[in-house]
């Protein structure tokens, strides 16, 4: 597929083609402006490709009507570099919200939210407002929210971009454990250390083109 933000401008993504299997763990790497974030936005249909198609769960999302978008997004948990949490609400409320919009009952929410907050190590911070949590804790809330509805896929755009090395490793380990439960995990990052350490599939983008794709790759090798 191809993607241009404006007519006449250069391609943000050009002739990019790949397949990700169910349950896979993959890194999208590349320098700033390589097209990683554009790719993430295409997956959640925040953007539409200028040309080509993008199939998710076997369905071409480029043809998905706008009103069906919420149902696609309920199957994709999203994790952002800037966390994108409702800062004036508690950790519990942020996770509960994601379940509420999918129509979960109050009973289900009361049961599930403490469970997922426990999985990310926030069992004693349910009622703390997000703005009173550290960066690492906020990203854990983001992860808990992403997995609350047991999505088939998690996509994370620079999930550790704002975190110190120790917290980065914690978050990455959490993502790996989520993947081990069968969830597909796609991570856009330019954190060399993490990519090299995890030895998972690495898809390398440069100036909007896919220039490398390696199983158990290392950032440096692919580069």
């Amino acid at each position: 597929m191809c993607m241009k933000y404006e007519k006449g401008s250069r391609y943000a993504l050009e002739d990019v083609s790949f397949t990700i299997d169910r349950g896979e763990f993959a890194f999208f790497v590349g320098s700033s402006g390589a097209g990683k974030s554009t790719l993430m936005k295409l997956i959640i249909r925040e953007l539409r490709p200028t040309d080509g198609s993008l199939k998710i769960f076997g369905r071409d999302v480029t043809r998905l009507p706008r009103r069906r978008l919420p149902y696609l997004r309920r199957n994709i948990g999203m994790v952002f570099q800037d966390f994108r949490l409702m800062e004036d609400r508690s950790a519990f409320d942020n996770v509960a919200f994601a379940m509420m919009v999918t129509g979960s009952s109050r009973k289900e929410i009361r049961k599930r939210v403490p469970h997922v907050l426990g999985l990310v190590g926030l069992q004693d911070k349910f009622n703390v407002r997000v703005c009173d949590l550290s960066g690492g804790e906020q990203q854990r809330v983001g992860l808990a929210r992403a997995i609350a509805n047991s999505p088939a896929m998690i996509i994370a755009d620079e999930p550790t971009g704002n975190l110190d090395p120790g917290t980065t490793l914690d978050i990455m380990n959490l993502l790996r454990s989520i993947n081990l439960r069968g969830t597909t995990v796609l991570i856009a990052t330019h954190n060399r250390e993490i990519v090299d350490r995890f030895k998972k599939r690495v898809i390398y983008l440069e100036n909007g083109r896919l220039v490398g794709d390696e199983q158990k790759g290392i950032y440096t090798h692919v580069h």
Partner: protein, 295 residues
């Protein structure tokens, strides 16, 4: 889903109002001030219309009967006038009644004048028209009827009155339309600002898979409540202000200012301001959100 979603929306509305209380208070304040201005102007306009209508209602045509007309002609004239489509009431006034009125008006100045022997006043029909503005045309028509000596309706004065009230009404309508447009502009922009401050929250809702209406409802309800409060508060203020004004007019004996009763005025204002306030609140929040929902 329905029940939990319903409680969620109500809960979110209340929480949203509390969390963004300063912005909501500011928005509601703008609605209150704008609708208060509009309300004051409407009050003045309603009363001006009422006073001019009262004056118009007093306009009547006096059809003087020819002194030489026989009884049959007089009866026929009375029948034609009272059955005329444009006439609300045609009342016969005898020459004796005219004399009694004149005596009352002039007091003792007619003392010693034998009214029974020498009464030069003509009998007449006093005609009230269905539409006050029709007096000129009807007077011209009545002049052609047999048995009519002369027709008066306050020529000159009536034309001026209608011209002035026409201008007052036109200016009033134009100002009210202008103020309504200003109110719509101010209120919708203030609500837009409230929504813009929460665009981050809206985009998060979109990312976690909330449908547009799921996101919209709490905002729509908030807009409704802000608009409703913004209409009811100035209404209550205007009621007390107006009641005080009416009492002041009575106490100071300014009876020529024939003001409308407070209850009537408030009902009239409420039927305009409450739907305007709540409608603007709902539309303001619904349309302001459109841009942020396209994520």
């Amino acid at each position: 889903m329905f029940i939990s979603g319903f409680f969620y929306i109500i809960g979110e509305t209340v929480k949203g109002l509390y969390r963004n209380r300063w912005m909501c208070i500011t928005s509601t304040g703008v609605v209150i001030v704008t609708l208060l201005m509009l309300g004051i102007f409407m009050l003045v306009n309603l009363n001006i219309s009422h006073i001019t209508d009262t004056v118009k209602d007093q306009v009547e045509i006096v059809v003087y009967i020819d002194e030489f007309a026989n009884q049959q002609t007089r009866d026929e004239l009375g029948r034609k006038l009272s059955t005329h489509q444009g006439v609300e009431e045609a009342r016969y006034v005898s020459s004796e009644e005219h004399m009694r009125r004149l005596q009352r008006q002039l007091g003792g100045m007619l003392e010693g004048y034998d009214t029974n022997l020498e009464n030069p006043l003509l009998a007449s029909y006093e005609v009230r028209t269905v539409v006050p503005e029709a007096v000129m045309a009807l007077a011209e028509e009545f002049e052609t009827y047999p048995g009519v000596s002369a027709v008066f309706y306050g020529q000159g004065y009536v034309e001026n009155l209608f011209a002035v009230t026409g201008v007052v009404q036109m200016v009033g309508l134009a100002l009210m339309a202008g103020l309504s447009v200003t109110a719509i502009f101010l209120i919708s922009h203030t609500i837009k600002l409230t929504v813009m401050m929460r665009k981050r929250e809206i985009s998060i809702m979109k990312y976690v898979g909330a449908t547009n209406w799921f996101i919209r409802w709490p905002f729509v309800l908030e807009g409704l409540l802000m608009g409703f409060a913004g209409a009811v508060v100035p209404l209550a203020g205007l009621y007390y202000l107006y009641q005080y004004s009416v009492e002041w007019v009575v106490v100071n004996n300014l009876v020529f200012l024939n003001l409308l009763p407070p209850q009537t005025v408030i009902i009239e204002l409420a039927t305009y301001l409450v739907p305007l306030g709540t409608g603007l609140g709902i539309l303001g929040s619904t349309f302001s959100m459109g841009r942020f929902l396209k994520v």
